[in-house]
Assembly symmetry: C2
Homo-oligomer: 343 residues x 2
């Protein structure tokens, strides 16, 4: 019951600049903080009770001055990453979650309709609504910076291969494939909605990769272009329900040459959903159903394995990040599943 | 970070009727539940992951059927009380909290303006906005049923006393004073905004108490009528900042006859704000500042004691509910503070 209040109480202390003020000067009182951030001292004191309780800040009973306690130990980069995530939760989720049940029954993100008059997914909204883009953009950039290098280290691409980056957006995955997996004769095709073609081609041009990369427009649930050695499915299988994932995997099977390989990047639930140390079940169902897609959701590795087998693939490797590489505040547990076209 | 999602994921399972369906029939699958509640099986499965994780429900891996686990042990009355509270959090808080920082800087409930075009406190909004009243009404009724009988057991009223129920609303406190503390000559006055007079007088009439009870209209921060033996301050001192509480207590001092008594019912923070078993700091600052008043907040007993002393009172008794009387899910810790006019 206290989840929403805890979240916003903490985030408001950052939004108001209370934490920043204490970082610059230790020992400020509620009256001094109030004057700095434009709030009544009483309200500052109230908001700081939770941070005192959690020992994020400490209050000197004699002077009434506050200092950073546990928050002082958090490295700036970690703090900024957490704040980016919290900003997304506030703007992209808090209000939208009010409509979670409606989103589930209609299979659409009702919150986007209510708050932005937008009919579609969060990804589509981010392309058109400034506030959504502002909340999601920094997160997407963090994601790219922290996940993509690891993803591309997790598998090999044979020299001179033909690669299809399925739902490759505006071409960043294709560019990174060339940069990190380059070989003579390598060709990468970005497949996505036709509306993204122009921006994607600009990306290729900006990186001097017009000879190596191309764009094919289409709908992933209808069909994929054929004749590829490697298909990349980065971060989107959890945005579809089972029947659609199976359709995509069957389309992928047809798109691959015999012996070709599919590489799936996905967040996954632990095999034991009761694993108390894994917070994905606490976050993703409400996030994906209520804020992003109105459908879909994470699966376990074993579920993806069985779906891949059902669609004519054999899983050859599953790799996860080294625990040491995962920040303590991370909610998401991603894996890379490689599978070969069996028949 | 997962607070808002955990809250709405759980509540949506009740809203959609998934829990009710499992209460009526154990062993239903996601497909059967989906058909019953009008949602895709995939979405039902996703929402139930969190409930599985928390062992609220269990899923039979062989049949895919769900049964209530820990939720089966919760008595119906406890569940209904928790759902009433959760309904209030959803309607009255979840979206409004988005504006917490704005509410703090403006000293007003910005969420009520944004969602209902309403300029005022949640109490005022409940009188005029059907949705707010629907969310708060049942909570207020639960409150009355569980708190008032205990409150009135916690102190004595001398026979034939003159009692002033400060901010007594539509007269319920006056009626209960007569019913539970009646004595020959007892007279109770309800003091509140003049706009409440008509409804208050109707309450007295409905209970046959027109001879015993009366109404005086006014503003609590300006002055109170004088010449009383006992003043009741039920549940509102935490809705004001310190300067206003001191004003109210000074007005109360003047309203009392020499030797008269003030009885304050209030939720209080623990003396050690770091007390991990007390959830009030997790809830009340964001609730009162962002959803109810835009100002105010709970204090500790020792703070109220010092404020009472500053205003010419001597605290004679502080009583709390017996722990056995407090439900395990209760966030609020209320006390009754009795104090005598010292000079």
């Amino acid at each position: 019951m206290v989840g929403p209040t805890r979240f916003m109480n903490l985030y408001a202390c950052f939004e108001l600049g209370i934490v920043d003020a204490l970082r610059k000067e230790a020992g400020l009182t509620a009256a001094e903080l109030g004057a700095l951030v434009g709030a009544k001292p009483d309200a500052v004191e109230q908001l700081l009770y939770l941070l005192e309780k959690e020992r994020f800040v400490a209050r000197d009973a004699a002077t009434g001055g506050y200092t950073l306690d546990r928050l002082a130990e958090v490295p700036e980069a970690d703090l900024q990453r957490a704040l980016t995530f919290m900003g997304m939760i506030k703007t992209g989720m808090l209000r939208q979650l009010y409509y979670l049940a409606d989103s589930v029954t209609t299979g659409s993100v009702v919150g986007l309709k209510e708050f932005y008059g937008f009919d579609g997914t969060m990804f589509e909204a981010a392309a058109q609504v400034a506030e959504v883009r502002a909340a999601w953009g920094p997160l997407a950039r963090n994601e790219t910076a922290s996940v993509y290098p690891w993803f591309f280290r997790s598998f090999d691409i044979p020299a001179g291969a033909r690669v299809l980056d399925v739902l490759g957006g505006t071409g960043l995955g294709a560019v990174m494939t060339c940069q990190l997996k380059g070989s003579p004769g390598l060709r990468v095709t970005t497949f996505d909605r036709p509306a993204l073609e122009a921006e994607c081609l600009r990306t290729f041009e900006a990186h001097g990769l017009t000879d190596d990369c191309s764009f094919v427009g289409g709908q992933v649930l209808e069909s994929l272009p054929e004749g590829y050695d490697v298909l990349l499915l980065k971060h989107f299988v959890d945005m579809y329900d089972k029947d659609d994932v199976l359709t995509i995997l069957r389309n992928a099977h047809r798109a691959l040459l015999p012996g070709g390989r599919i590489v799936v990047l996905a967040a996954v639930y632990p095999e034991d959903i009761g694993d108390a140390g894994d917070y994905q079940a606490d976050f993703f169902p409400a996030y994906i159903l209520g804020c992003v897609m109105g459908r879909g959701g994470l699966q376990t590795v074993s579920t993806y394995r069985s779906w891949l087998e059902e669609c004519g693939f054999e899983v050859t490797e599953v790799s996860a990040k080294e625990p040491a590489e995962i920040p303590a505040d991370a909610i998401i547990n991603r894996v890379v599943i490689s599978a070969t076209r069996r028949s």
